[in-house]
């Protein structure tokens, strides 16, 4: 009898505890459901950035790099332009009314960002340590390597770095580029001109025999003159990270751009058609020797957005 009553008392205590714990958990669940998200939302970041409330977004792009940033019939086209369009649309700027592409030459890119002429720069902008002191970068959105392009007549003659060192071939490159230093390091004597266009024009006129530059830029010229040139794969072994330039005083905008690049990266990794892949296939893809994938962006903030609940698979 005693055992029985103590058993039933124990059971009553267990029931009381269970009821009390269930009520506590339910209360905790109720509080949790009314809690603000811990992480910042995209919308909050938008409010912090300098573009919030701005009716137009201005993006600096190149106009002399076929496939990357080019002006065709008054329209900006190219991989950089498409990436710029995707970022702008993600930020809420779509269509001609809201998005303006500003032509920015290589040397204009940093002053334009510093002076507020443009809000973003998407123009084969390599992320280097020196530049990071002047502007912020979101990315990389592309990893490019150094290549050499030769006219078809020399495609069997220039195959190695050793061939390039041969003084009878005149190698051309653009001044101030990372390529110049790279060639020097490998004892390749190069003739330095203002930009890659001059090299290409020089080769067509017979003044030079080879041009070295970024793979993406060379692919653009190959696309322009597909029957005249060929790209030779040489083991330079360096890679450049192209990033999107953002004014250094606007970390919120940098974070947003990095977040949207990451979103595209994630989509591509999940096997979906990402905006990056679409841009790539429409521009660079057919002209590069090796198929590329979107590189993972660096320093991506963890933000909350409306579509976070969408299924991943």
């Amino acid at each position: 009898m005693n055992v029985r009553s103590s058993q039933s008392r124990l059971r009553a205590v267990a029931t009381t505890l269970a009821v009390a714990l269930t009520l506590t958990l339910a209360a905790a669940a109720g509080c949790d459901s009314r809690k603000e998200p811990d992480r910042q939302s995209v919308q909050e970041k938008m409010r912090e950035s300098h573009i919030y409330g701005q009716s137009k977004l201005r993006i600096g792009v190149a106009t002399d790099e076929p496939l990357m940033g080019d002006l065709r019939n008054g329209q900006h086209v190219g991989f950089d332009v498409e990436i710029g369009r995707y970022i702008a649309a993600s930020l809420g700027y779509e269509g001609e009314q809201q998005l303006e592409f500003v032509s920015a030459s290589t040397e204009d890119r940093i002053p334009y960002l510093q002076g507020g002429t443009v809000d973003l720069v998407v123009s084969s902008f390599s992320m280097t340590e020196e530049r990071k002191k002047l502007v912020s970068f979101a990315g990389p959105y592309f990893v490019t390597t150094q290549e050499v392009m030769v006219p078809v007549r020399l495609k069997d003659k220039i195959r190695t770095l050793e061939d390039l060192r041969d003084p009878k071939y005149k190698v051309c490159t653009s001044g101030g580029s990372t390529t110049e230093g790279e060639l020097e390091k490998r004892q390749v004597k190069a003739l330095v001109v203002k930009n890659v266009w001059d090299c290409v024009a020089g080769i067509r006129a017979g003044r030079y025999d080879a041009v070295s530059s970024d793979e993406t830029i060379l692919a653009g010229f190959l696309a322009t003159y597909p029957k005249e040139f060929e790209i030779v794969d040489l083991p330079f072994g360096t890679s450049e990270l192209l990033g999107i330039g953002v004014p250094i005083g606007d970390p919120a905008l940098r974070d947003l751009v990095a977040y949207f690049l990451q979103k595209s990266y994630q989509q591509g990794r999940d096997g979906q058609a990402s905006p990056w892949l679409t841009a790539y296939n429409r521009t660079l893809g057919p002209w590069l020797r090796v198929e590329k994938n979107q590189p993972q962006p660096l320093e991506v903030p963890k933000l909350v957005d409306f579509d976070d609940k969408a299924p991943r698979r």
């Binding site: 009821v19 714990l21 269930t22 958990l25 009716s55 809420g92 009314q97 409306f306 976070d308």
Partner: protein, 384 residues
């Protein structure tokens, strides 16, 4: 003393509701000790009789039942109706004329359907809480000597409600609650139907084995989510997923006498407070969907108007702006319109249960599977 019990008369005062009266002559009838005519067969219930039939009662049960049922259904029907109208006022920004504009344009069916969409979660939470607590209190009060405590309100409601209504409330909760909170339904269900582990098997060892197997299966199903939650340091999520199934094993049964009285009154206040607290966001949730309408002449600048479209006729589109005020936009000037989410829909956790977000309900999760891609339109980012 009458020779034949009347069903609602003295007999009920002794705690016994007699079976229906048989058609026998009333004069010269011999009765047995319980006042039942001899030779008249007693109607015995075929199966176990629900608790409500055996409950000792102190006053007219039919009247009491009718009254309680009336108050229950008044609450179930009346509360949504009042809420629906109240939230129109809130949505209109407290402006009388705007409220009238909404009343004129939002039909009662739309209003109720809109309300149910946003309030189904609240409604099922209230019902589940009442039924679970009611059953716990009922079974506890039954053990007390009759007359010591007035039957708590929730217990009376739980007694009156047919089992199918209780089951339907749990089903509604199952479909509309966020997945994260679904485990809480297990102890609530065990409490509402007073299910003890004894039901699984009469012997102790197989019973323990069955329980262990069930818990192991549950744990295995949730293992990836639990691992992520532990990695993210989400202790509350861990507790909400792990603890309730264990509680479900112990929750059925009577409570000690000392607990019943405070629990009865406390939970009534708590459930009421919970409903009021949870009702505030429901009242302030818009009835109409949020859109961004791009307005502007064919050539020329455009403007984004963020708000809820009240109505559209041949001449104007009437938009209740998010920042307040009503705007009549000529239909010819409407260039584009997109549907936008609100910031209240932002998720708080980064956890999934087999690719279902833990803050989605089963219905929402399934919906996302049907229409998986949901891109936020650029216009939605525009400031309001």
């Amino acid at each position: 003393m009458s020779t034949v019990p009347t069903g609602t008369g003295d007999a009920s005062a002794h705690g016994v509701v007699p079976p229906p009266r048989a058609s026998v002559p009333t004069d010269h009838v011999e009765v047995d000790a319980a006042g039942w005519p001899t030779g008249v067969p007693r109607a015995e219930p075929a199966g176990p009789v629900a608790d409500v039939e055996q409950v000792p009662v102190r006053w007219d049960p039919a009247e009491r039942r009718a009254r309680a049922s009336q108050s229950f259904w008044t609450a179930v029907v009346g509360v949504p109706a009042i809420f629906s109208v109240l939230r129109l006022g809130v949505e209109a920004g407290g402006e009388l004329q705007t409220t009238l504009l909404l009343v004129a344009n939002v039909g009662p069916v739309n209003l109720l359907a809109g309300f149910l969409t946003t309030a189904a979660r609240l409604l099922s939470t209230g019902l589940v809480a009442v039924f679970a607590l009611g059953a716990v209190l009922a079974v506890s009060v039954d053990r007390l000597p009759p007359g010591t405590l007035r039957r708590p309100l929730f217990a009376r409601w739980a007694d009156l409600t047919p089992a199918w209504v209780v089951v339907a409330s749990f089903l509604l909760a199952l479909l509309t609650w966020p997945l994260l909170y679904l485990p809480l339904l297990l102890p609530a269900f065990a409490a509402a139907f007073q299910l003890r582990p004894d039901r699984l098997h009469e012997w102790v060892v197989p019973r323990l084995l069955v329980i262990a197997a069930l818990l192991a299966a549950y744990g295995w199903f949730l293992l990836p989510t639990l691992r992520d939650a532990a990695g993210q340091g989400e202790l509350l999520v861990l507790a909400l997923l792990v603890v309730p199934p264990v509680l479900a094993l112990f929750i059925a049964g009577p409570l000690p006498d000392v607990v019943i009285r405070p629990l009865a009154s406390l939970t009534e206040v708590a459930v009421l407070a919970m409903l009021v607290w949870a009702a505030v966001p429901v009242i302030s949730t818009p009835v109409l969907p949020l859109t961004v309408t791009t307005v502007g002449a064919e050539t020329g600048p455009t403007e984004d108007v963020r708000g809820h479209v009240v109505t559209t006729d041949d001449v104007n589109m009437v938009i209740l702006q998010e920042r307040g005020g009503v705007r009549y936009v000529p239909v010819d000037l409407v260039r584009a319109q997109v549907l936008c989410p609100t910031e209240e829909e932002l998720p708080r956790h980064r956890l999934r249960i087999h690719d279902f977000h833990i803050e989605d309900s089963l219905l929402e999760g399934m919906g996302r599977r049907v229409r998986p891609v949901h891109r936020i339109d650029a216009a939605c980012r525009a400031p309001g």
